[in-house]
């Protein structure tokens, strides 16, 4: 395996520093009067949700490129994007549930946003189960690409669910929802923490994505070597 590139080492460090700063800004942001301290999980909730949904859409784009070129490198990118996004989206759902307990008085409700988010997470868990079941790399990549392309539709549906359907989930970006419970307006300090968290999670996503791509290429090398030795 090639040694870690300098750019990746720098991104590793930058990602760690931005995450620490984002945590500091989130924790030191003003406390929301109605919900109290729990509102502060919102910064990480949105940060992880943004990067996860972006990753799912990126994976759909990589799938299209793979289906056109049949180059397995695009398959590797797609797997990396989905895996990192899956982890981030899991954090989003857990943080949302923790916030919902004091704000809505329940851990979970089958609201359109929560339902679509849960379906998205399950779709991508199933994606890895599907890949596990196929041995032939080309076939696995082709099936994975088609699945990720169709699954990619769930990301915009999840994003627009609170804008299209009646829901109690607050709309933070681009509009307001009169039926939302737990909505709030941001002060300048809150806005700083919010945008910095978006930035920090974007950097962290790029860092983990790159590391995961390297792992994927190492996996391919080992698989090729296994074939060579067994012949």
């Amino acid at each position: 395996m090639q040694p870690k590139p300098l750019a990746l080492k720098i991104i590793d460090i930058v990602a760690l520093i931005t995450l620490i700063v984002a945590t500091y800004l989130a924790l030191s942001a003003p406390t929301e009067r109605v919900m109290g301290e729990v509102q502060k999980v919102f910064y990480f909730h949105i940060g992880t949700a943004w990067t996860a949904l972006l990753g799912f859409i990126l994976a759909a784009v990589f799938s299209v490129v793979y289906l056109i070129t049949k180059d397995l490198r695009w398959d590797r990118l797609q797997v990396a994007a989905i895996e990192v996004s899956l982890v981030f989206f899991f954090i989003t759902i857990v943080l949302g549930s923790i916030w919902a307990r004091p704000a809505w008085n329940t851990w979970w409700t089958w609201d359109p946003r929560l339902t679509t988010a849960a379906i998205t997470e399950l779709i991508y868990i199933a994606y890895f189960m599907l890949r596990q079941g196929i041995d032939d790399p080309d076939r696995r990549a082709r099936f994975g690409a088609v699945y990720a392309l169709v699954g990619g539709l769930s990301a915009p549906i999840t994003f627009f669910a609170i804008r299209l359907f009646r829901t109690i989930h607050p709309v933070v970006i681009g509009g307001s929802n009169p039926e939302a419970e737990g909505a709030f307006s941001m002060t300048p300090d809150m806005r700083t923490a919010f945008f910095f968290a978006l930035f920090a999670f974007t950097v962290l996503f790029i860092d983990l994505f790159w590391n995961r791509i390297r792992l994927g290429s190492l996996q391919d090398q080992v698989e090729q070597l296994k074939l060579k030795v067994s012949m």
């Binding site: 406390t31 301290e37 990480f44 954090i91 857990v94 307990r101 983990l208 190492l218």
Partner: protein, 89 residues
């Protein structure tokens, strides 16, 4: 919650949220490290196996790799040695 006068103490939920977020991220980074380490170990082992296989197999393989002139000379040498062995026996 919306008709209250004082801000509720929900710091426990906040702490739980941040702890879980960092825990999940930490576990993922650790899993990346573990998988990478295991693959590197596999790679080293497979490379060793490949090297040892190359040392054991080579007779016909080496013969094929040699230039035709070299291998022809070698064959001639072999037949000569066989004849001399027969004579001596």
């Amino acid at each position: 919650m919306f008709f209250q006068e004082a801000t509720p103490d929900t710091s426990g939920y906040m702490i739980a949220g941040y702890v879980i977020a960092f825990l999940v991220m930490g576990l993922y980074v650790f899993s990346l490290y573990l998988r990478s380490r295991n693959l590197r170990q596999d790679m080293t082992m497979l490379e060793e196996m490949e090297d040892s296989a190359a040392k054991v197999i080579p007779a016909p393989e080496q013969e094929r790799r040699r230039s035709p002139a070299q291998s022809a000379g070698r064959k001639r040498a072999k037949t000569v040695t066989k004849r001399s062995q027969k004579k001596s026996s």
